[in-house]
């Protein structure tokens, strides 16, 4: 699936998106906005298109945003969702051409695993939920325990 966050264009495996919500599905517990998935509170984050600033999603986000819940299979098999991301657009992607990003360019914990060119010859970046989680864990401070995110590991 293709995700757009401002000028940032990401490709993420489709099976790692467990749910798509609209901003009016956002609820708030203390300082952390969340959506509900299978009875659990999933904290919602947003990041700028330069990947320089991570913060809690804007609960007053206007129409045109989406909340995607990101899931991955843990060691025991079932899909686990630990966070959600506010994005500008979600779209299906056709077959992509992949290219590597030289490792030496990237800062530690970069969530960008490679480059792609889509059918419209637009360039974007390949990521996956594990890489995003490492990135968010690296950047987010945990000043209080009023939400589920981030978790250890």
């Amino acid at each position: 699936m293709g995700l757009r966050l401002g000028a940032l264009y990401l490709a993420l495996p489709g099976d790692q998106i467990s749910q798509i919500n609209l901003p009016n599905d956002l609820q708030r517990h203390l300082n952390m906005p969340y959506i509900t998935l299978a009875g659990r509170r999933i904290p919602v984050l947003q990041v700028d298109d330069q990947l320089s600033q991570v913060r809690a999603a804007d609960p007053h986000a206007t129409a045109g945003h989406y909340i995607i819940s990101l899931a991955y299979a843990d060691a025991s098999g079932p899909l686990v969702t630990r966070f959600a991301l506010q994005v500008d657009a979600v779209q299906k992607l056709a077959e992509l051409h992949h290219y590597p990003i030289p490792t030496l360019m990237q800062r530690p914990n970069s969530p960008l695993l490679g480059l792609f060119t889509d059918q419209a010859q637009q360039q974007g970046f390949v990521t996956d939920v594990q890489a995003l989680e490492r990135f968010f864990n690296h950047l987010i401070e945990t000043p209080c325990d009023d939400h589920d995110y981030p978790l250890a590991g």
Binding site: P102, L104, M105, P111, F135
Partner: protein, 146 residues
């Protein structure tokens, strides 16, 4: 007396490259900015069917010199951004300096970490750069803090 062809590059100070290190001058290349990268390596150049990193130490400089980084299979090419095109020059063996003569400013230059040797060009001792050493992490950090 034998001679050697070099390319002289002007960044914040003159540098030299051996002929085998220089591949192509690109003046209108397709660039892609990559978020969350090293300060001096923030863009890629689309070149001959691959994306190669651009080392940019100055402001916006559209002239790019593609250099070959020998012994770096992980990154065999790197583009160096510069304000003006490099100049080809020929030097004699006698122009090669046994060591870099360091004045106070040059001694601080991180480029000296990438120097294979040095050469006297127009009465100035200029380091000859090995592009593979430009990919060294300590050098890249040195560029940022210089």
């Amino acid at each position: 007396m034998t001679t050697t062809t070099l390319w002289r590059v002007e960044l914040d100070r003159p540098l030299a490259l051996l002929e085998p290190s220089v591949v192509e001058l690109v003046t209108d290349g397709k660039e892609l900015r990559v978020p969350y990268c090293q300060t001096v390596l923030q863009s890629l150049l689309w070149w001959r069917g691959q994306w190669i990193p651009i080392l940019r130490t100055t402001g916006h400089s559209p002239t790019l010199l593609v250099m070959r980084a020998l012994n770096r299979p992980d990154c065999p090419y790197i583009a160096l951004a510069m304000a003006k095109a490099p100049q080809r020059c020929t030097v004699t063996d006698q122009a090669f300096a046994p060591a870099l003569a360091l004045d106070a400013a040059d001694a601080q230059s991180p480029w000296h970490h990438c120097a294979l040797s040095a050469v006297d060009i127009e009465s100035r001792i200029v380091p000859i750069i090995d592009p593979a050493l430009c990919l060294d992490e300590a050098f890249l950090e040195g560029l940022v803090t210089a």
